[in-house]
Amino acid sequence: MSPSRLVSLITLGALAAVACGGGAAGTAATPGVSGDTITVGVLTPLSDPVAVIGRPLLRSMQVYFARVNAAGGIGGRYQVRVQEEDITYANPSTSVQKYQKIKDQVALLGMVVGTDHINGLLPLLREDGMVATPGTLDAEWVRTPNLLSVWVPYQLQIINGVGYFLGQPGNAGKTICSMVLATGYGEAAEEGLMSAAASEGFTPGPRVRFRQDDQDFVAPITQLRNGNCDAVILASLPAVTGKVLGAAAQLGWSPRWIMTSPSWHGALAQSSLADYLTRTAWIVSEGPVWGDTTDAGMREMLAAVAQYAPDQQPDLYFTAGWSVAQTVGALLEQAVRSGDLTRTGILTALEAMEPFSPAGWGEYRYGPIGTREPPRANTIFRVNPAAPIGLEVEARNVSVPAAQSYQFTAGR
């Protein structure tokens, strides 16, 4: 068969396939709810360098709802189906496109990864009355309508990290600098530093920005070193953190690195940087450590993993996703209790939701927009290559006064 015929046949075949494809999910009134099945949408990167965060987040949601379904479902009746869509982290427009694709098939979005992606979706969420869970921790999301926010915001992460550092004996008055990605996420971390500087009364040192595809970091590291930085806050992504810290290690410079949670990846603890990281790195995050069986929530998670995903390796992002899944489950329970699973019903449920803490995590107060409050305490981890995810606890429940008094303004 000649190639051009082959091409024509393939085209026709594809067109035929779509003719048989597709199917309505849910009725017009309750999109995403069909019979006794609720569909939850997840927009997460699965095929780019950020997939190292995106895949475990998705997996944990799938495992969590598998367990909920096996135990009878939400409200003892509704089964939950997770519908995932692959987005490109580097391009926020892909989220907008995927959203348009699945919006009529889902009741809410259980996870959207990326600060800039949420920014892109907000006008559409408002128009469609849809609730979404940001998989990113900007302080702006706390009091933005249509968002089911989770976790301690980056700004507070940095404030707590910096406060903890300055509170260590002999650290008062030291210079703190920043090295962040040039995205909305990096900006949030920088905001945290400026806020900490304002309330603790210090002037930060040089603030440097970098990009995900930079190859060489000698120049920015030199700039920071010349600024006599004692500590540097780092807002990066797993694929780049190694390059940044590798450059610092090679230049023989060891400040205290205070990094946000998405900067870390377990593989770093197994690389040639392990020694450097053990000496210099702190990761500000929250929640239980994988394998810590003193925590009831962690025990449940490990049991579910053993049953539904036995090949899952210890992963920081799986644990994080697990907490999100619990929150989404709690929202759905609220909606089912009030008997209204329409878009409006879910929004109302969000406004009526009780303060909720996923097992092992801090309490998030939902309810009316003006009074929403995230948890304000972080756990600071240090590196230990022998531990399951390469991290062990340095300090729990760190919540400095500046973090506690941080004001959240009403979002857009």
Binding site: A14, G22, P92, Q97
Partner: protein, 363 residues
């Protein structure tokens, strides 16, 4: 011996007409009918996909004028799309211009900047021009990312460019009694623009300017010798092509209502080049066909992804993701068409026509 259906071209005028046979006119009428009924029949999702295809078609027609007809290789097409989008945002948002003006203004902006880039083509040829256009794209991205006031930086920005003439506003057609939602209204608007711009391009290309451009493509030195001014035509091709791209960018901004500097990437430029290659270089219909094909195919693959066994159950690992498959198909399509059908889809169509026109002597 006269063959019944074969209309041989015997007069110069015949080469220039838009519709050579009654059948061609009937075909166009059928297409028009399909276009009018499509949004009423297809679901919202496919209507949006076709809107994106239409926007891509505008950009592809522009690139075809530049690359297919004038032979100037440009990998910087995405930059002009970005220029159009941001120009539209500023004209409609900050300056408050009403509908047709912001679209025309955005296209004009693209044309002006294209005119500034054009002179490079006078000095550089072939590979060098391709790489300089790549450099232009990177420089343009740099500017977009740092001109936060206009573009919102890497975070992107929301765009509000209402398409409204008098009381008829595409965002709210129900208010004037037209029972169409936003997507359907936008579909008609987009494909109307495609029709107008395609006709304009066709008119440009089948008359004297088109012949001049083709002369520049085939042998630019010889063209200069016989009086086809390279300065005029090369720069002119850039101006027109960038104008089309900016128009496409403005329409994209109006529809998506959110853009980020990362949208105007090298991948987008390559997609446009692929569209004209797959559709058919040197043909307006080919550009539209290529745009439709390359926009629909990934969505079709996604729609059918449940039925393909080697695709990964996302999250768990084994197999490849739909995105990876689409990227691979994209690359394979480009390679496949270049190896086996360099004249593109439109050539397949022409072969089909020739087969039937010269039946039973189709050897």
């Amino acid at each position: 011996m006269r063959l019944r259906n074969l209309r041989l071209t015997t007069r110069y005028q015949d080469d220039l007409v838009l519709f050579r046979t009654r059948l061609a006119m009937a075909g166009m009428a059928a297409l028009l009918l399909a276009a009018v009924t499509a949004p009423l029949v297809l679901g919202d999702f496919w209507v949006t996909v076709l809107i994106y295809a239409g926007i891509a078609a505008v950009g592809a027609i522009g690139l075809n004028i530049l690359t297919g007809f004038t032979g100037q290789i440009s990998l910087g097409h995405a930059f002009f799309l970005g220029v159009g989008a941001y120009a539209a945002a500023v004209l409609a948002g900050r300056w408050g211009l009403p509908f047709p003006l912001w679209l025309i203004g955005a296209a004009a902006m693209g044309g002006i900047i294209g005119g500034l880039v054009g002179p490079f083509a006078l000095r550089l040829r072939g590979h060098y021009l391709a790489i300089v256009s790549l450099g232009l794209l990177f420089l343009g991205s740099h500017v977009f990312e740092h001109w936060t006031a206009v573009t919102g930086g890497l975070t992107g920005r929301a765009i509000s460019t209402p398409i409204a003439i008098g009381p008829v506003n595409l965002d709210n057609l129900a208010a004037v009694g037209i029972p169409l939602n936003r997507n359907q209204g936008f579909f008609y608007f987009t494909w109307l623009v495609v029709g107008v711009l395609a006709l304009a391009a066709k008119n440009l290309l089948r008359t004297r300017p088109g012949r001049a451009l083709q002369a520049v493509r085939d042998r630019d030195q010889a063209a200069e010798v016989i009086g086809v001014s390279l300065v005029h035509w090369k720069v002119g091709a850039f101006v027109v092509s960038s104008g089309y791209a900016a128009c496409a960018g403005a329409m994209y901004a109006a529809f998506a209502r959110y853009v980020s500097p990362l949208d105007w990437s090298l991948f987008l430029s390559i997609q446009y080049v692929a569209m004209i290659v797959v559709g058919g270089i040197g043909s307006v219909a080919g550009a539209i066909l290529g745009a439709l094909f390359l926009t629909l195919l990934p969505r079709l693959v996604e729609a059918g992804s449940g039925r393909l066994p080697f695709l990964a159950d996302a999250g768990s690992g084994g197999g490849i993701t739909v995105f990876a498959l689409n990227q691979m198909l994209f690359g394979l399509l480009i390679i496949g068409f270049l190896l086996w059908e360099p004249m593109g889809l439109i050539e397949l169509w022409r072969r089909l026509k020739r087969y039937f026109a010269s039946w039973p002597f189709s050897y």
